[in-house]
Symmetry: C3
Subunit: 437 residues, 3 copies
């Protein structure tokens, strides 16, 4: 467990210069070395999670139309910036409020991030420094907003999206996170969510669902009762996105061990990798049967489904269970996509199916496969509580933005594409593009 403390405002950084570098200190203890390896692993996990933002970018841009590519790239670059900066200003202190947490529901430890000398040593936590703690968690924060980005793509107004994301990632995500990882009421109740099937993925997924409902489907998606596929324009870059997300997940799950403990981190690597592999096989078999062609975008989403599915219980289910959880996630994601389309919920990249549907599945799977320490009822209570508040908050936010400045571009803007309409810049000016599919 991480130490929660009231932190002093940032010291003049020059003080850092004066600190003896551990590497050069006269006497090195085994504790020093262990602290260094733990902290190094957590920083490695941090840059892996950072790269997931590149993965989301590839996935979203590849699975949508060429005429909206610049817009999607712009949004993804903005979100990582907004996520990190708001986390520095308010998010971290909302999510880990320490003694300020009132009734297990809400707490705030103050604006800005800072440290005291203890924050730089193992006295803060044997696993990492204060700064590592902040930056690792900060990389998670933006993820929730990124998930929304894919679902609302190709029709949301840029400014409206940026406003929504800023508020959601600055306030909603961290407060909801404090319920569990900040030591709040669900943590006290025995809820278990190792790396965030619910806290990160379904929190993003609920907002994606709210956005899709408020926006409505893209023009031409559902016409006269038929569902018309709007294919992604660049499949190689979407698959690159999938590989980068899987790559980053080794940090997302592996870093959630919160130390370099050899047994735990290596076990989590195995369950994470096998669940993703099984997700591919699950989606492949399902789509080959259901669609009668093996569908590459479904296989891609199958890998991600397996990863979201294993995230809640990566350290507490057996290796065999991780394969079953991933396999099931790969099947579930295909049917979820079909079902959402039947309900005319237009999600261009399948974000809701991957992150919400499989986030719920993964959270419940802890109750099913995690052994007697975990209760499926508690897991269900948490799923429902997160659903109610995350979906509700996102709905209120989207409706408020709609009322004030609108959320959707005009029909003309949607037809010519957001790249010209919003940015006056095509993503592929040298290529002959069909933009009026």
């Amino acid at each position: 467990m991480r130490l929660l403390r009231k932190l002093l405002p940032a010291l003049p950084a020059v003080l850092l210069v004066g600190l003896p570098a551990v590497a050069g200190a006269q006497e090195v203890t085994a504790e020093d070395a262990m602290f260094a390896v733990n902290n190094t692993w957590m920083l490695v996990a941090t840059f892996l999670v950072f790269l997931m933002h590149m993965g989301f970018t590839g996935l979203e841009v590849g699975l949508t139309q060429a005429k909206n590519a610049t817009n999607i790239l712009f949004k993804n670059m903005s979100i990582i910036a907004i996520g990190l900066l708001t986390y520095a200003v308010v998010g971290f202190n909302l999510m880990y409020p320490g003694d300020f947490l009132i009734g297990g529901f809400f707490g705030f430890a103050g604006f800005g991030v800072g440290t005291d000398p203890d924050g730089l040593t193992a006295a803060y936590d044997p696993g990492y420094t204060y700064w590592t703690d902040f930056i690792f968690q900060g990389m998670f924060a933006a993820t929730a907003a990124t998930i929304v980005s894919g679902a609302v793509a190709e029709r949301i107004k840029l400014s409206s999206f940026l406003i929504f994301s800023t508020i959601y990632v600055a306030l909603v995500y961290p407060v909801l996170g404090s319920w569990q990882w900040g030591g709040g009421w669900l943590d006290q109740m025995g809820f278990y969510d190792f790396a965030g099937s619910t806290l990160v993925h379904s929190v993003g997924g609920w907002a994606a669902l709210a956005g899709v409902i408020v926006l409505g489907p893209r023009i031409g998606k559902y016409v006269n009762g038929t569902i018309r596929p709007i294919r992604g324009h660049n499949l190689p870059i979407a698959v690159f996105g999938m590989f980068l997300l899987w790559f980053g997940w080794f940090g997302f799950n592996g870093g959630s061990v919160l130390s370099a403990d050899p047994a735990d981190v290596s076990f989590v690597f195995v369950t994470t990798a096998l669940a993703a592999a099984a997700g591919i096989i699950g989606a492949m078999l399902t789509t080959w049967t259901v669609h009668d062609h093996p569908d590459a975008t479904m296989v891609l989403n199958g890998a991600l489904a397996g990863l979201v599915g294993i995230t809640a219980g990566a350290d507490v289910v057996s290796v065999m269970s991780s394969i079953i959880i991933g396999l099931a996630a790969g099947v579930i994601v295909v049917f979820s996509v079909i079902l959402l389309d039947k309900w005319k919920l237009d999600d261009p990249v399948g974000a809701i199916s991957v992150h919400l549907t499989c986030g719920i599945w993964g959270t419940l799977a802890v109750g099913i496969f995690g052994g007697s320490d975990f209760s499926i009822v508690t897991q269900l209570i948490a799923v429902a509580s997160y659903g109610a508040v995350a979906f509700g908050a996102a709905m209120v936010l989207f409706l408020a933005i709609k009322a004030v400045i609108g959320v959707r571009v005009t029909e003309d803007e949607e037809r010519i594409g957001l790249d010209i309409a919003e940015h006056n810049m095509e993503a592929y000016p040298d290529f002959q593009i069909f933009s009026n599919r």
Copy 2:
């Protein structure tokens, strides 16, 4: 050397929860810290090798035609899944059978992967846990099949390829691996292959050669005695693939030290990087002279040739030798590509030249540059033995599949491209594509 042991079936994973996290334990020893840093490095190497699959994907998709891009992406996603899952079910226990190895040729320690409490501590190996061992080696396994994928691209039936890959990676690769890394007859004989010039790359390369022979060339490649280049459709993504493979090779070779030993790992980084750099220069100079234009795809393959070439001896040749080995590999790969084309062996991405030809070169180079501890005769015996069995097994497999369900798509399917024929999904639906070159 890794400890080989009979492993108990998987313990209920919940037991893991009860283990004291090393990071939080009361007394930390220097051995604990060293075990943690070793294991952390091996997990970092694992995620680097994982990313090589993204590299292969980029390379193959970029160096082939747009009309087959979806198919290639699909195959590469499938292979990593098949590789990891079969390695969990049978591969790991075939490759490292421990006491079950009979006569140094074949052994099997049982289905599934599991662990006993020792597998989670330095008692298993001071360099890594059982799970790290499994997942690091598992990432290697799929590589062999991926090498085949590039060579047989643009004309192999999807189902036939998936069946071949599954059997080759599940059975042939691990049994051949046990001859050396599993402590088998070649290991006892003094053969040396540090990270797999032969065990991984040429094992993949021999199967690629068998596939190319059984399939025959693509339509339009060799017409009336002339060789017609069929250019790759997306060079930037192919070059991204090369960079990712090089990046991953720091884990492939660096992780083959099997610990974080500072002297060995840093030395291997240097020989690996310089061989790749020299491979680029070797291929550049050769192609500029031979083709009279500097050829970007040859330079790309020159880097990979240098990497394959240094893989067998990265830890036992001098830095100057690593440059010579890489330079020679860069020259060799160009002539190998020319020669294969002369023999009408159509390998769209140059996989045979990179992985087989330079895999052999690298293996022999240990005998030439590695000093008196190594015998070129032993290296040659190993090359020949691996060649006979790997090529033979792949040939039998491909011919058996051909006899039962066929291996090649129809002429019509090949002309319209496998994306429509096999997947009913174009990779670039928004772009104007020339598909009938």
Copy 3:
């Protein structure tokens, strides 16, 4: 500070085999474990910096025209090879000449790289081995030449560029580096440049400026007093490049701590990430105001501007200052691009604005935000000294090459594109391209 020593010529590498692996040694000390974790982190930083070359590749190829893509890919693959090999032959011994440094300005410790047994242990440096030192610094070297590549793109002759790069990276970069990191006169004077805002980025940027002046603008860029934008042809791959550069920067700055010291490395991660995030926001707000459309390529350059800006002082400014430095860099880069265009200095990717302008900004920012240990006057003296010598040397080199073999392709070659003119190979042969914009 790293130990500077005269190194013996390379030992036969087989000696390495005889060394006891630290991991398997009988008695492990805490110093051993700390040495292993330090060295492991430095090798991780090394592969991160390596990946920046993939990032530069993506950025440059994406922000230029499709008809020059093969050429740009070729150049970027060549540069990493040239950079590493020349660094092995002369660069490392020019940059870190140790006792050979004469008057703080120039020194050379001999051709080639080698080591003595001490180079493999903590006796060399508690933070890394000799080989780690070499390969980490070697990855930096090529960066300077890569920066030039983007600025001179789409009109420079391939052979001229390769000659320039080889000389600049082999001789100019390391000698200039020795002034500070090699313990030279600026180091003695109290100049501070943590990871290379000046030593790497502006050294590259000055050469880029010289190249742009000698070459002149691309055809059609400045016509009858108007500035005509020549859009990049593949925005997704440019954005991938930006993400990879940011990713690599965690190693560029994080590795410049020269150990895995938890306090310093984690602090540098935070300032690096927040400066990049703030750079995005700074560029976004500026471009939205100035251009009235939010400009995706400017936002991309804003992130890089923030990263270059924080590089000089990442370990000595406060977190709040890092945000201000990044924000300012994001504003500065937009105006720098506008100004250079006004002066008809045609830099296709904005390399001069990102690396030179913001490199100067970051160097001065140490004097402004770094506290009383740093003098803005000293920082200015260093900026001016580096500018005079780097720009002067690059100018002389470019003019000499121009006099002997020419630096610019013919007008016809420029119009049809360098891919056909220099390489006889299109990057996207399957796509309908507009090549005569």
